[in-house]
Symmetry: C3
Subunit: 630 residues, 3 copies
């Protein structure tokens, strides 16, 4: 505790007895101190308050006479500009004596590099406590940075067991370089009295640092403007997680738009982490991007995510992560997984452009960005939103990303007006529309073969960000895009002869194909995308409304141009009518359903009847279908 300020030091002030290591920082004008005479001169006595705090009691302020070594009580009455201290002797009777420990200079964590080898003190919040086979490593965050503090009790024995995550502490130790990174070799680790005050200061510093950069959207578009605040809230959460040393786990849709969303955000976070932690390997421990095979957050995925998070907490003393859902996460199907995370109070943010169920998910999401919540729709793709998000996190990334929204738009068939501007922006970066389409196709193709692997380096090269070698990027995209086209042609060569056609009651053309029997399995394109490609060919050959159904033993994929299907409604009715274990989802013109194998015929027959009763609406196109094909 520091000496109270003068305003309080009136009347029967206590007498402070300074520890030997106290400095001038620990004294306050007007306060009373225990002093020892160390010199007697004609005009008074010199007194010591501590090893380094001394001054004069002028004879005019002195009661009685003293010899060297005598103790007396003084009040500090004068601090001159040159640092000399002037005291008066006072009567200590009836005064309480208070021990004062030296209040050390607090060093900011970003000044440690210049203090190597010195013993210094830092103050802040414990954000990680990792027990190693040797020391216990306390990671401390002050307002400006993060530093690991190694405390050795005995091999593998927890040092300072009374402290836990979130505590505000003061650590004194020697600044050392270990594996090149800076750390403190702990000499003492103590609780801080003014922890509320410090926490408040840390919080406000954190808040300030977490505030995202104020970036102008890449294109002038009202849709982006309406979501700017929502995106800033997400950017703040993400920056805050980095500053708090909290791990971030990104789950994203494993398609083109999902890649255009997640890769920029991952890159921006990597760079921000490196900036904050000064350690290029920190991102490996703090950031993980994982594709989801399903278009929602499956129970299997969340169970594993949870188990990993708990394991990292136990083994490395990490905080539980912040979960980020990209191009996924807005629907009722995500609820069970979200509820599982809620058991551990793991916060979740979602940026998605699929039709949301805000009633179902909003109670479980810390932030939820979705164009439908603002009267917009899927045409604002998640990739478009996430490029803005990435720029808010780390604006320097902008130049690498200017073509990404256009890729996202093309791969998700966005018919947004802003596509014109995005395409122009991409053109400035050297990409014409065919190039961008090829990037989208290549992303999709590479992601297919990478399956559950995130494919960091390869996909970054395909997308053409993170300073990729340009010629390599071009060749790679061309190669993958060509392979994708060739494999799609081969698949359709096998499938097209087996597409059956019929006319629905409403006059629309229906095309049906058993993709399990008439398409190659376990290859590119998968059943959903195969169905989409067949539909596109049929639409191109037709004038009227077209519906395509690609089915397997226990699933069907639906695509419509010109028929208003309302698939969620259909699913509900089909289940009620058939008891076929029907579930699924989608939009007006695209969707997928599942059922039990044995009820396939019943379900498909009922589905056909329903589609025949649906309203014709020639305006409706099956755009933005990519998200539902897998």
């Amino acid at each position: 505790m520091s000496t109270p300020s003068r305003s309080e030091a009136t009347g029967d002030d206590p007498v402070y007895d300074l520890a030997a290591d106290c400095t001038i920082e620990d004294v306050e004008e007007g306060a009373c101190y225990r002093a020892t005479v160390n010199g007697v001169v004609e005009y008074g006595v010199f007194v010591d308050l501590s090893a380094s705090v001394s001054g004069l009691v002028h004879e005019s302020n002195l009661d009685g006479s003293y010899d060297v070594g005598d103790e007396l009580t003084v009040r500090l009455v004068d601090v001159r500009e040159n640092g000399d201290l002037g005291f008066e002797s006072i009567d200590a009777a009836d005064r309480e004596t208070v021990q004062i420990d030296h209040e050390p200079d607090i060093t900011a964590t970003d000044d440690l590099a210049e203090r190597i080898g010195e013993s210094i003190t830092v103050e802040g919040e414990l954000v990680q406590i990792k027990q190693t086979g040797g020391p216990t490593v306390f990671t401390l965050r002050d307002g400006v940075g993060i530093v690991p503090c190694a405390a050795f009790e005995a091999a593998g024995v927890r040092a300072y067991p009374g402290f836990e995550l979130g505590d505000i502490v003061r650590v004194t130790g020697r600044v050392e370089r270990r594996e090149g990174a800076l750390q403190l070799e702990v000499e003492s680790l103590d609780a801080v009295d003014e922890s509320d005050e410090i926490r408040e200061r840390l919080d406000s510093a954190l808040e300030e640092q977490a505030t995202p950069h104020d970036v102008q959207p890449l294109v002038d578009w009202s849709a982006l403007e309406t979501m700017q605040d929502d995106l800033e809230a997400v950017a703040t959460r993400l920056r805050r997680a980095v500053l708090e040393n909290r791990p971030i786990r990104i789950r994203h849709h494993a398609d083109g738009d999902g890649m255009c969303a997640s890769i920029p955000v991952t890159l921006a976070l990597e760079r921000f982490i490196e900036e904050v932690h000064g350690d290029p390997s920190a991102a490996r421990h703090l950031l993980k991007r994982l594709p989801s095979k399903a278009p929602y957050y499956e129970m299997e995925d969340v169970t594993r995510d949870l188990n990993f998070a708990l394991g990292d907490r136990e083994r490395h003393g990490q905080q539980l992560p912040l979960l980020v859902m990209l191009d996924n996460g807005s629907t009722e199907e995500d609820v069970p997984a979200y509820e599982a995370l809620a058991q551990y109070d793991i916060p979740i943010v979602a940026v998605d452009h699929h039709h949301p169920d805000p009633d179902a998910v909003d109670g479980l999401l810390a932030e939820h960005v979705n164009p439908y919540l603002h009267g917009e729709d899927y045409r604002v793709t998640t990739g478009m939103l996430c490029v803005e998000l990435a720029r808010m996190i780390h604006p320097e990334i902008t130049d690498e990303l200017t073509h990404v929204p256009a890729v996202a738009g093309l791969t998700d068939r966005s018919e947004a007006d802003a596509m014109t501007d995005y395409l122009a922006l991409a053109r400035e970066a050297g990409y014409d529309e065919d190039d961008l389409q090829a990037i989208g196709d290549a992303l999709d193709y590479a992601a297919h073969w990478l399956r559950y692997s995130a494919g960091e380096s390869l996909l970054t090269d395909v997308l053409g960000v993170d300073a990729a070698d340009d010629s390599r990027h071009d060749d790679l995209v061309e190669f993958f895009a060509e392979r994708a086209a060739r494999d799609t042609d081969e698949q359709l060569d096998a499938a097209m002869p087996h597409v059956e056609s019929a006319t629905l009651d409403n006059g629309a053309d229906l095309y049906r194909i058993d993709v399990e029997r008439h398409a190659h399995r376990f290859t590119y394109p998968a059943p959903g995308k195969t169905t989409g490609a067949i539909h596109d060919r049929k639409v191109a050959d037709s004038d009227g409304p077209v519906v395509t159904v690609g089915y397997g033993p226990d699933f069907a994929v639906l695509r419509s141009d010109g028929v208003r299907l309302d698939i969620p409604q259909m699913v509900e009715e089909l289940e009620a009518e058939t008891d076929g274990g029907v579930s699924g989802g989608g939009h007006l013109v695209v969707g997928s359903i599942k059922f039990v194998k044995g009820m396939r015929e019943a379900v498909l027959d009922a589905l056909e009847t329903k589609m025949g009763a649906a309203e014709i609406d020639e305006e409706l196109g099956s755009a933005s279908v990519a998200g539902f094909e897998d």
Copy 2:
């Protein structure tokens, strides 16, 4: 070698020539030594036997006269209380001269912490020899602990290549702290002459330390008492493995009882390892728990286990592991896997409560605990047994485990009389029967989604052991149990309308369902458990005997209440009659069979005939079915 004791030093004793570093520890009253005069005084000469061993030859004991530097032979005749030595000069003629090396003080490995920076000597058995890119690390076990000893020959070059695992050695080196753990920086590593003696001493120390704690069973139950000795033998093996630095690999049934068995044993071993090795990370290298998807030890699993073990031996110089089978391992189906391990003399212990084939497995098992071997049955669940086993390994764990046997019993539907006591015990720990059932359901649900992952942290939280946060545990269990119930309801909603019924020849009700066609696939509950849930509903609605068959393309799951099936017998007959590639197993009332797809109808028809010919026995219930459902 030390100087022989006095009793042997008579007649023509040898003359010992002490090495320069010998100390007073190396001499023995009555023995003869080569000495050098280092001082001549009035009353005799002072002689040196080594740098630190000196004394007086009184003139009364001295033949002839000597100058400084002269050599003579002396006998040690007097060791005074103050440490002064008195000699007499003797005639060395015809005496053999024996070189004596300094016999160093042996430091116990648990005293190293106080000797940091000193050069000391330890003695014991080499239990691991790991070649790193730098030094060779010899791990030495003495009677009380384990210490790594780093010997540097050249980068990556094996030091002391003459030594191998199991050798008894003496290592002299400096005690250093490395990554916080203690190790010796080897100065010398030598064979020990008295290795048999030391090995005997180590063995008896090991035996003593390996002896499990003498714990009173949690409940007073004769079934446990009869198996107490068997469990102690397993506990001894496990403790011994830890003390010998031998890795332990646990394979267990991936169901509720398997979790209730394996998690307590894993926790107890983790704590015992930490106690022995003083290193919280040691358990990561020495202990691995793995769920088995099949209800036996598959060839695929054992091939991988073996390959990992051989790899760890090669890369880390580890011993081959001890394999522990829990809630699995008693049956003939485990034999091929056991035989694979036998090729490498890997010992196996099994604790199981499934119907055993002792003739098939006992020759391959080092220990085999199974209630059937003592006239008991499946009602003594593996979880009940393993809680006792865990307590024998590390009794301090008891308080965390008192509710676990009740969970194990409920999840395996044990109708043991002791369930009353177990439930009472759980009640004392704050769990009523619904809570325990919910924990079982939650374990099962979480294990389903974790698939091949052990799910350490998550399942430990679900089971509510290892100091889990109570409120979190409760919420988590409730959440998972509810999800399990909801998913089961959804599955049955799809399936129940497609259950076909018939009456068997013996009058029992037969229910059949194609779970591949009329249940959702790749979800919870899986086909076996789905069949079980259907059966339970049918039994609840019926008075008479009920048999349920859930079948897929190449498998069927059987459940009976009131019909005595003898499934192993049926399998044998079905294969003989149909050539359908029929295999499988089970009990009287529960089992599963496999066959080739093309013979399904023939096999199922024949099965139905056999079930119709089976004896009705209203007493028989399909309890403990959990183990066979997957």
Copy 3:
């Protein structure tokens, strides 16, 4: 830069001003230098050119008089045998002054062990640049070895950012031992003027070191002789990769011959890596062996390989790898994968004995060894070739491998004349034909259960190389071989009753079996091998030509004895006739085809017609079928 040689030092030579640390190595007779007088004697003045370079200007060679400290210009006229230098003073007017830096002694990387603690200089090419959380580690290769050089700029900050992979540099630093391996603590890292010269020297040193050992083939066989040069070219590539610190990734066929090929090459490379890097753990970072499930390089595999390679480059600064295809890689089906690697200029070498498509692959392969390219055929198995290859890489391995070609021959049913010699060689090593066949069966069985895992240690023990414990090896082989036989019998017991027979139009016996319906799935043997075993039994029972077709929902495996099938041709025709999505490949007597499920009947019917129209050729046997069974 060093002082130019004398031949250039005529007329208006420049005056060299030596840096203080220059040594006698930096001066050249006849060249001119700036000097300082440090002593005046009767017969002349002593001058300093640098701290350590001094000499006499004899009065006879001296113009004018000088005091200590005076500067003058001198020419070095005399270097005596004893090292004394003689100078003449000259007129410096109009001469250009050139600064000369000290040209340090260059230490060879294989001399570092004797220089620990000293500051030395090495020169060579940067072959890896890894940014750690601490220093930047530059790995330097000179003509004789490789050394890591750690340069610290700031924690995690790239030191010497101007340098990149492939640059020729000079590094001065202290030799340190870190984790036991040697490294330089960088004091300076500079570009080298004579980099072309050095690169040339490095290249020729590399070329020399990369040259494989000149080994005599194990048996006297013209087939091996014709391929000797090709194999040497591959050996050179592999040794060169090790010397250049380039990672090597081996993809091989996951059958017996593939194991006999890849295990010896892997072992030889491991030992060569250890020799070059002096670090037994280096092979873990530089060498990876991976089985391929398909008989060609699948797009899924290459996508992962590529992503790993890019990740290792990014994270560890590694070069992109050299890809090695063994017992795979010669066919058109490998082209897409090869093209993917070509995007990154990753070199590929293939050693295969399957029928090659040189037109398709040769443009993509750096080296291609295949007996068909030399008028030989599959009877020269890849295992036979790779044993020679392994010996070229590291001849000391020979004794461990003498039985391997015979195993390879038996497992691939090679009828080569050289088999007699190979069997004799194996007999000398203690293996009779039954033993070798058992090893082949055991390899196949173990590989089946290991699936995607390389199974290093286990398969090395089965194959009996790398100093395996002999008794263990024998028992292990016997055990696995017996299990393989037993499992095959069980599979055939189920399958044989369901084999249908017919007579083809050409009179050959046709056997058909639905292996999906009438064989166990997910067990050993898999469908292809099951079909082969059935075929073998049928051939044994028959005199005439026999064709066997094992089919599943979307595939068929073909085997013929006595009918010339030309399977690639059939595949092309089947696809043209049926639109069944037919693809596949094979030889005259063995092959496999895929089709879409729904066209199975049409494809199989057409296939039967074609087989009935094929030519009978009693000489044709379905040997070497192993490679196509999976």
